[in-house]
Symmetry: D2
């Protein structure tokens, strides 16, 4: 039996692991993409627990950066960036439930050079920004167009990076807010977490009827922290399977893969994101894995695993995890 069959999604989800219909969410079907994640937009699709959706995502620049001469400051118009597919309604999901999103696969779409990385003025961890507001000049604005396929990301003559795709932005709708697609928060959003790739299940808190799933911002690879502000952004065909776990009332997203479970926090300063992630993990071990609270806290001090998603977005994202082998009773 695979780990997936034993996952929380498969064992506690409404679908009980039964894959049902497969839906295609093509660009045409999507129509208008979204730049804010909330309850005010019209659903493009309605699916059932266990259904698969094949999603054609656009890159974070919505294809506007076609050559290395297409500087973001000229071709982008804020806040219309990081386009999201969705919202997808999932039957049976309601406030107080969890939407499980299993990423089955991510394939590149469109002709090369389909990867884009950019240094954008007043953006990135080693630059003054709109929030860390300084009088220093911006760093140079630079665009890199990059060939990539499922075998590699051809960064330069010198360096080929592995193709390690993940979804940068994944969310259910907040209850009453609508949050721009650059910002991660308790709803998910622009977490830019490299763990969120094929073979992972993300558990998102549901806050509105039908969950209203948004998805976008595929990365062909990304380092910890996404230091310059962008990953290798690319258009993808991302295949997901969704399920609903009733009555699992989460504050923040969580993630599971073959070897780990992880809690995800997004906040500034970065220690607050890390606190959220670890606090959630302590409480999870206590609530569902038979650990006494302080034993969990002290043990994570010895074996906790931290992933820095990004420290460039309006909130920073951290995942705190533990290997599943320590969860066996």
């Amino acid at each position: 039996m695979s780990w997936l069959d034993q996952s929380i999604m498969r064992t506690r989800g409404l679908a009980q692991g039964r894959s049902a219909e497969t839906h295609a969410l093509t660009e045409a079907k999507q129509g208008k993409f979204h730049y804010t994640i909330g309850p005010y937009s019209d659903p493009v699709l309605q699916v059932r627990p266990g259904d698969r959706v094949v999603v054609d995502t656009r890159d974070a620049f919505e294809g506007a950066v076609k050559t290395e001469q297409d500087l973001p400051s000229r071709v982008l118009r804020m806040p219309f960036v990081n386009p999201q597919n969705g919202p997808i309604l999932v039957e049976g999901a309601d406030k107080g439930d969890v939407l499980a999103v299993y990423i089955e696969s991510m394939a590149p779409r469109g002709p090369n050079p389909r990867g884009t990385c950019a240094m954008i003025p007043q953006f990135g961890a080693l630059s003054g920004t709109s929030l860390t507001a300084l009088l220093a000049d911006s760093l140079p604005e630079i665009v890199r167009k990059i060939d990539l396929d499922e075998d590699g990301v051809y960064w330069s003559r010198r360096v080929t990076l592995p193709y390690r795709p993940h979804i940068g932005t994944l969310s259910c709708s907040p209850e009453i807010d609508s949050i721009n697609t650059l910002t991660p928060d308790a709803h998910g959003g622009n977490m830019d977490l490299p763990d969120m790739g094929p073979g992972s299940i993300t558990y998102l808190p549901v806050r509105t009827p039908g969950a209203r799933l948004f998805i976008g911002d595929a990365h062909a690879c990304q380092g910890d922290g996404e230091v310059c502000g962008t990953a290798v952004e690319y258009p993808s065909t991302t295949t997901i399977q969704v399920d609903v776990i009733k009555g699992w009332n989460l504050e923040w997203p969580r993630l599971e893969n073959e070897n780990r479970i992880m809690c995800i926090g997004s906040a500034r300063p970065l220690e607050d994101a890390t606190r959220i992630a670890y606090k959630e993990l302590v409480l999870w071990l206590e609530a569902e894995y038979g650990y006494e609270r302080w034993d969990a806290y002290m043990m994570l001090s010895q074996c906790g695993l931290v992933r820095l998603g990004n420290f460039v977005d309006p909130k920073y994202t951290v995942g705190a995890g533990i290997e599943k082998k320590y969860l066996v009773p």
Copy 2:
């Protein structure tokens, strides 16, 4: 000639200081209050530049905390707190303009004890919170009901505080986001800045047609930082006058009173809020007051004035100001 006649609002606004119609935005006229500030709600009023609006605001608990036994954790239902009046459409205001909001007066409404202060679990600067997430127990949950009138805030037998009213939350709508009323940001929002009382003009960036003004959260008094998380919250009759300054493209709110101008930033950590406020002020002195940039920066290092609005909301708010006497050419 009063300072008001020489203010930016009066000298650059469309109304040219002519007061026109006075509108009443009563509770009945308002109907449904708002808990999120964005472009998706229906206007309750349309006014013209120079018009006055007499607004009946509800307190931040929307009146649900009637006695000291009404604990917030029982009588409030998140995120439905800090109710806002509006949105008010202002003719002639459009993206790239500024909405000037002059606060003419603030009077208490309703029977005493009409003031409320509370220690709310997982809220406040000296407690763990949802963002500074800790495993420590919450502080005790305590409600104080306080008599107040225009002569004083009768805190205890020992202490009477001065009645120094201000508006805690003031905003135009963001362009596409809808932001809960607990959070301040570039649109204004829950700034909790004591300077924003009668005799002040706040300049808010306009990002949608008609500006869509929201207003609420009156405080009878508040200390710097609002350390326990709440001020003396009360229902008010707040009279404002609005005007539109065309083509003044601001990133963040600004404020003017008889003696000072001020720029307002909201961010975490607190130094980032302060950076935003000071950077905006340096650039303002350069753009409109004839200061060379580095002269302004170095001079503010000698005479800049910082007000801490709050360091308890999801973003913290700081105002950085300078006395008007230094602005004379």
Copy 3:
């Protein structure tokens, strides 16, 4: 009876307000100045509680910036900046006591232009720094030499600023650490707090026998936050009176003047400095002024006063205060 006669220093100090000997700590007597504050240097003076010391301080550049062409990056050699007078031993002071330092007067020394303000590369709140490390270019390096006397600080043809002197750096020695003179911390240090001028009493925790008082870094004026990184730095003759309060075991410095008491915290991020200051103030009101803890906390949320000392040093400094009129039983 003056406020001073009723001050904590005068009512609880060993000297009981009796002024005794006056000592002169001239440059010659000082000899070698200090760039680190700790227990490892030799005392230059020993005084008794109630004694006055007339201290000739050097400016923070130790006089090396004589003209506007003397760029700090050329004439300074790190970490040898911000020279301190002392250490001064005070009889009767020991670990667990408090040293009270009343600043009686501060007069300028030496010929004009005796004031210096500088923008120093990789320093200042609106620049990348050694701690907020960025790849952005430094701001320009600029020196301003400024005439000043006790009537004013002649900033430019356009602006004359008031002479509002204060001591930037004031400390007793830590117990075992020796801390560079750029950094404020629980021992005091480089707090850059404008309230620390003539007419103020600073209460410093004593951690070594004799207290080992260090003093320096006079500012002719300074804005809240010292945004560009430097005040109007100048050489001063500063007259202080010291006293010892036995068995007052403080964690952080405190301050008293005619109208206020204040607690001082230094930390990063800035909210942590503010938390320290307010927590100390709550506990002080509880311990010595008859307030119940949560009453103090909630009341400070209505009348607390925050001063931002600096947000440019390796730790940031905040004072949280309350007006004395609220302390009357």
Copy 4:
């Protein structure tokens, strides 16, 4: 040829890889341990580049926590914790050089239960602390005594953790400061970085003649961030080899192991520690590995590796690294 023969230490160090004398720094030889790292203490040993030193370290509680009933708040006396061996003088090392410290092995010392983990009041990432000062109660004070050997750390009946030793505190002396052993900074100090174990070389900036090496704080294992505030602290026999790289003028420590190079930053807030680490890494790739600066910055955004050392000490520590395979020309 092993990676060690190709390491920076072996190829650029004075010893040229020649191992010379082996010294024993036993507890007896050490005598008085140190709680502050600076230039004011007497050396216990003088060695030459290439020499090995076998160091008997004490645990961070200096053995005072012998049973689970020995609560730290009772048996420890601040600031006398985290005892360090040293200072060790290394011939030929001077300001502007680097001291390379290769950790050859770490073996447990003394009888079991020789491991100690504790929750200490007002310490740890999910508690209020002396710096994140809150009014909330402390978490419970708990001590865990743990058996451990080179095969495992026997945490509980349920969980055995791998023995993954590393040195928590490693430093050369600052130039004039003396820094308590709880704080990491540019000199090294209490970094609590799990990568600093056997098979790693740490490169420390030298700031005083002879480098003055301090070492202590062995951990039998530690999770990312050391969330509860302590690792599995234990007394060790740690064997190191030291060497001197002349004229390598570093601001912050760096690390090398078989597969990676890493830069280490320590600061608050946590994003500043991460900024330091990544900035240093960008500049390192530019200065020594033939990368153009912006290419390095953008590439690290795709393949940079972040390790959170601790977010519990007075400054937080982050390592930013890259796999050596990307450094091949």
